[in-house]
């Protein structure tokens, strides 16, 4: 018996050894220095080789819009300025109907051909011929494009359209000598890209990893300092987080819970993160076509009933703060009017909320729940997409907050498709939702309260899901579209903030953070709170270009970082 037992033990030991041989042999070999490992924001288990920067609706790799192709200018949201990139400057004409760009001399495509104004003209012509690529609808405003010499190009608008600048300046520019031969630019996978960006040479492409080497003809001298960028595929947040914590990723843009303990504590010297509140503000949208949300007093009462401090703590791990009465996130920090921001309708005050609801005729019934004017119990439903765990938690807190003032509110989760469909068709009472980020708050306030964006219920609304229109706001927006001068724009934005705070078209909750984690063990030069030269997240298009051209392998640094191009 003893013999048998030892034989079993020996076998078991052998089996374990055998397995761990595979385990150990699978130990990761060291990466060559100079290969920067980045995680794509999109979760996927298998990469498809697609580097088409124009067809963003397809399954396009991260690098297409952030490393291979470049725009004419890049907006840097922290200082709030436009940085010259493929263009060295731009100018508006007097009446804001024409904008011209001066292009940089000496820029080459990665195959060695020269870049010039014809490439820019060709890119925009391609959008006109293929409306499916003109995702932002630049051609609904442009009237003509004029090439004024090899490095000068001008765009003429049908009417003054200052907000159209960012769509032009941020458009990735493709090479005419390559793309003029492409038959169908929508389904073109562009497997061997030719770009002006810092990383253009596909060194490896497998289903679970790809690597791009640097552009041999890059226009910034001595840049990029990094030899190659490499992307492993992760199917889930958990997988990415484990790899990050283990130090296998140099630059990531993921939500990581309790990050100080899970990530930073593991290597305080080199593990860093920075979550600036540069994403859009998350809103609670109330359907203003429906009773009782058509009453501004009711919307403000709901807003007062919400304990945003709690929402931020419970739902967002304290990574953000409660929104102020302008609804603006830090992406618009320099536009924010301090007076409007003091507005108290976004402060938690259940007593005031209750009084306002009483005054609006939504009084408590005998069972303690508030009733609608027709006498039935008011049972609002807060719609949230299933799986958005932070929003689900926020919704739970808010439902409890509303119940505390006598509103029988419940959280309701739907599959994403169903949730979004209801939101767009206006088939909701209350729903969580996002807002977008642009260089100026024009688009934000337009989607919030321009009558031009209101469509009837049941019709699918691309924006303004809460269906609110304000004539006053429309006038300010129209002025803003025709004024290129920033001081005059600022005055109009203050006016828009006042209207927003007065009319409360929707209920702001908290500004969204951008996720960015860095491992400085092998690389330095990432943007930090102290050296905030760019938006730090790899998810930011096209701001990631700013980081890619500044990051350096540790030890290779040439004293002070060079000034911006």
């Amino acid at each position: 018996m003893i013999a048998v037992q030892t034989r079993w033990k020996a076998l078991a030991a052998l089996a374990l050894c055998g397995l761990s041989v595979f385990g150990c042999s699978a130990e990761r070999s060291e990466l060559p220095p100079g290969v920067l490992v980045i995680t794509e924001g999109e979760q996927t288990a298998a990469f498809i080789r697609n580097f088409n920067p124009l067809a963003e609706v397809g399954d396009v790799r991260w690098a297409a819009t952030r490393a291979i192709y470049e725009p004419m200018m890049i907006f840097e949201p922290i200082e709030g300025e436009w940085l010259p990139w493929l263009a060295t400057g731009s100018a508006w004409n007097e009446d804001a109907t024409q904008v011209s760009f001066t292009l940089r001399e000496g820029v080459k495509w990665s195959d060695g051909e020269a870049f010039d104004a014809d490439d820019v003209r060709f890119t925009f012509e391609l959008l006109r011929e293929t409306p499916a690529l003109d995702l932002r609808g630049v051609w609904s405003h442009i009237e003509a494009i004029e090439v004024r010499g090899s490095h000068e190009i001008a765009f003429t608008f049908a009417a003054p359209h200052v907000p159209g600048f960012s769509d032009l300046a941020h458009q990735p520019i493709v090479a005419e000598h390559v793309w003029s031969k492409v038959e169908d630019p929508i389904s073109f996978a562009n497997e061997e890209p030719v770009g002006t960006g810092p990383f253009t040479e596909v060194r490896t492409f497998q289903t679970q990893v790809y690597e791009l080497g640097k552009n041999p003809h890059y226009w910034q001298p001595g840049r990029p300092a990094v030899d190659a960028i490499r992307f492993p595929a992760f199917a889930s947040n958990d997988q990415a987080s484990l790899a990050l914590v283990r130090g296998e990723i140099d630059w990531a843009g993921y939500f990581v819970p309790v990050i100080d303990r899970t990530f930073v504590a593991r290597n305080p010297e080199h593990h860093h993160y920075w979550f600036p509140l540069l994403d859009g503000t998350v809103f609670l949208y109330a359907n203003t076509e429906l009773e009782p949300y058509d009453d501004v007093a009711v919307r403000k009462a709901i807003s007062r009933a919400i304990d945003r401090e709690m929402v931020v703590k419970v739902a967002m791990h304290g990574y953000t703060r409660p929104a102020d009465a302008t609804g603006l996130s830090d992406a618009y920090a320099r536009w924010r009017d301090p007076e409007v921001a003091k507005g108290d309708w976004v402060k938690h005050d259940p007593d005031k909320a209750g009084a306002a609801l009483d005054a609006a005729g939504l009084v408590r019934g005998s069972d303690g729940w508030r009733t609608l004017p027709d006498g039935s119990r008011w049972r609002p439903q807060i719609n949230v997409p299933a799986g958005f765990s932070d929003w689900v938690r926020a919704g739970q807190v808010m439902a409890a907050n509303l119940q505390a003032v006598g509103i029988d509110a419940r959280l309701k989760t739907y599959d994403f498709g169903a949730w979004f469909d209801k939101l767009q068709r206006g088939d909701f009472g209350l729903s969580l939702g996002w807002t977008e980020v642009d260089p100026t708050p024009y688009g934000f306030y337009r989607n919030m309260m321009s009558p031009a964006t209101v469509v009837p219920l049941e019709e699918s609304a691309p924006v303004n899901w809460h269906r609110y229109g304000s004539a006053e706001a429309e006038a300010a927006l129209a002025d803003m579209a025709s004024v290129a001068d920033e001081d005059r724009q600022r005055a109009l934005v203050v006016r828009l903030q006042q209207i927003f705070s007065e009319e409360a078209p929707a209920i702001p909750l908290f500004p969204g953070p951008l996720w960015a984690e860095f491992n400085t063990e092998r690389f330095t030069g990432f943007p930090t709170r102290e050296n905030a030269y760019a938006s730090p997240s790899p998810n930011a298009i096209p701001q990631a270009l700013l980081v890619l051209t500044r990051v350096e392998p540790r030890g290779s640094s040439t004293a002070q970082p060079e000034p911006r191009p």
């Binding site: 070999s29 288990a45 697609n50 499916a132 679970q208 990893v209 199917a235 169903a418 469909d421 924006v463």
Partner: protein, 325 residues
Amino acid sequence: MKYVLRRLLFYVIAAWASVTLAFFIPRMMPGDPTSTMFARFKGKLDPAALDDLRAAFGFTDGTLLEQYGVYLGNVLRGELGISIEYYPATVSSVIGNALVWTLVLAGVAVVISFTLGTLGGVLAAWRRGGWLDSTLPPLFVLLGAFPYFWLAMALLFVLGFQLELFPLGHAYDDRIAPEASWAFFSSVVGHAVLPAATIVLATMGAWMLDMRNTMIAVMGEDYIKLAVAKGLSPRRVMLRYAARNALLPNVTSFGMALGFVVSGSILTEIVFSYPGQGYLLLQAVQSQDYPLMQGLFLTITLAVLGANLLVDVAYAWLDPRTRQG
């Protein structure tokens, strides 16, 4: 021969029914793929671009019946269309990539689980009340009761992350080129250990318990007593007389399990970032990628039907009575 023909006819009808269901079920889901896909533009998409894209992605306004006709024709020609989620890759190429890995991982795991479980069940029943019988089945049934993903995460955290014995994810070390080399092969095996162990641990209990219970029933039969009385060796009685007969119901479930391998072990694959079919299925459902869903349903159906065909054949061999039927 009649038996085989009858079975074949059954399979053709079953295949048609499932192809039809694969078409209609995704379309009964609320929402539609365009709005889901365009959601990532946060409403910035120009309406003109939207209409144009609809056409490019092949969303037609034809009636459901017309679409069904086109779809049936395409399926017969082996054309599965273009994936929406992975645009512009074709569904066949997307599935092809993933199918290999799922077959490697889940296929091997199910075979291991079935073999070990069945053998364990035989031994447990043969030494009924012995230490093997009183420890193994309860232990594995307990493990099988844990949720898949929990088991996967526990293994990943302890063996992968804490002890660093095994890699955390992926199908092979991405720094090794996929080629016919020992380094690549050992990397594939090393990466499959944890996910495969999850599947084996979670499913072995059921095989063991089923086998043990049928064995015990069979061991009460007269022919076993006869075999023992004839003085045959215990090993021969156990394997050739008892186990062979007790195996029949387990073989049926094995066929089913083998078929479902193709649907992948969704949660295991997600936890380990394993590039298999299961993860694809999840993505297809989330983004309402109808062509990809149809393609996946189709491969799953064909796999289940194919595995059942094999089971039918195996039955004919294991149990001579079916041949007369």
